[in-house]
């Protein structure tokens, strides 16, 4: 039996998501924005694993949430590689990774 309830895990996940979201909105450095995106994915993973654990029964083992986390981790790895390659290409073209200076579409 687990004394800490599902709500505790969900609050941690919600706070982590909000922290990541604040970072995405507030930061100018594209690399840090990208890190905050990873935090948000991580928060979703914590919620998924917690739901799977607390709703599992013998008849329905609720493995789908866990398997989904497995896929999220894989896709996030591919996403990080692609995103960082785009940042490198951006830096080669523009010489900056600050979101404020990347205004080509405004002009």
């Amino acid at each position: 039996m687990l004394p800490v309830a599902l709500n505790h895990y969900l609050i941690v996940a919600a706070l982590l998501f909000c922290t990541g979201f604040a970072g995405v909105l507030l930061r100018r450095n594209v690399i840090v924005v990208f890190m905050c995106l990873e935090l948000m994915l991580n928060a979703a993973n914590i919620a998924l694993v917690a739901f799977s654990r607390y709703n599992a029964t013998v008849e329905r083992p609720m493995m789908d949430g866990n398997v989904f986390v497995f896929f999220v981790i894989t896709v996030a790895a591919a996403e990080v590689a692609t995103g960082l390659a785009i940042i490198v290409a951006l830096y080669r073209r523009r010489g900056t990774v600050m979101a404020d200076d990347l205004t080509a579409l405004k002009k």
Partner: protein
């Protein structure tokens, strides 16, 4: 009791570095804080008895992803950001939205039903790697294969995007 103490420890270990990351001016420090946060999340997975996911989290996130971030930070030499955004008018809207989102989600979770200890199962089915393998190669076979293909596509795409650009003289469009 032990579980409670560990939960609060790991929750703090997940959330505190994330908050510091949002406020840190040095990008290398941010990457290091990200490692601590990911290891905290992995500990939460272990606490939820998803041991395979905890190991994967440490290997893929705290290992590969952070190393990739550090590599790019050092390659581009953008370690220090200088001042953070200072204009107060630009801060108000995101912070208000952040506070509203945080309060709403915490309230929604607290007001909800449930949160009791899991019924019946002493050991989580996610504790063994076998249960993952059985599902991955039966019910999720197609998704599994597609994920493999996605990784290949990402690899080819990364090589294509990050190859050396054509010299400026051969380019047809104007220089910025």
């Amino acid at each position: 009791m032990m579980h409670d103490v560990l939960f609060y420890l790991f929750a703090a270990m997940t959330l505190a570095p994330a908050l510091l990351l949002v406020c840190s001016r040095n990008t290398v420090n941010a990457a290091m804080l990200m490692i601590v946060s990911f290891i905290g999340a992995a500990s939460l997975f272990a606490l939820l008895q998803a041991y395979l996911l905890a190991v994967l989290q440490v290997m893929v996130y705290a290992g590969a992803v952070v190393v990739l971030f550090l590599f790019i930070i050092m390659l581009l030499d953008v370690g220090h950001e200088g001042r953070l955004r200072a204009a107060l008018s630009k801060l108000v809207a995101p912070l208000a939205f952040f506070a509203a989102l945080g309060c709403c989600s915490v309230l929604a979770i607290l007001s909800g039903r449930g949160g009791e200890a899991p019924a019946g199962l002493e050991a989580s089915p996610a504790a063994s790697a076998e249960s993952f393998g059985m599902l991955l190669f039966t019910k999720y076979q197609l998704a599994f294969e597609l994920t493999g293909f996605l990784l290949l596509a990402a690899m080819v795409g990364v090589i294509f995007i990050s190859r050396r650009a054509i010299p400026a003289g051969n380019r047809t469009e104007g220089k910025e």
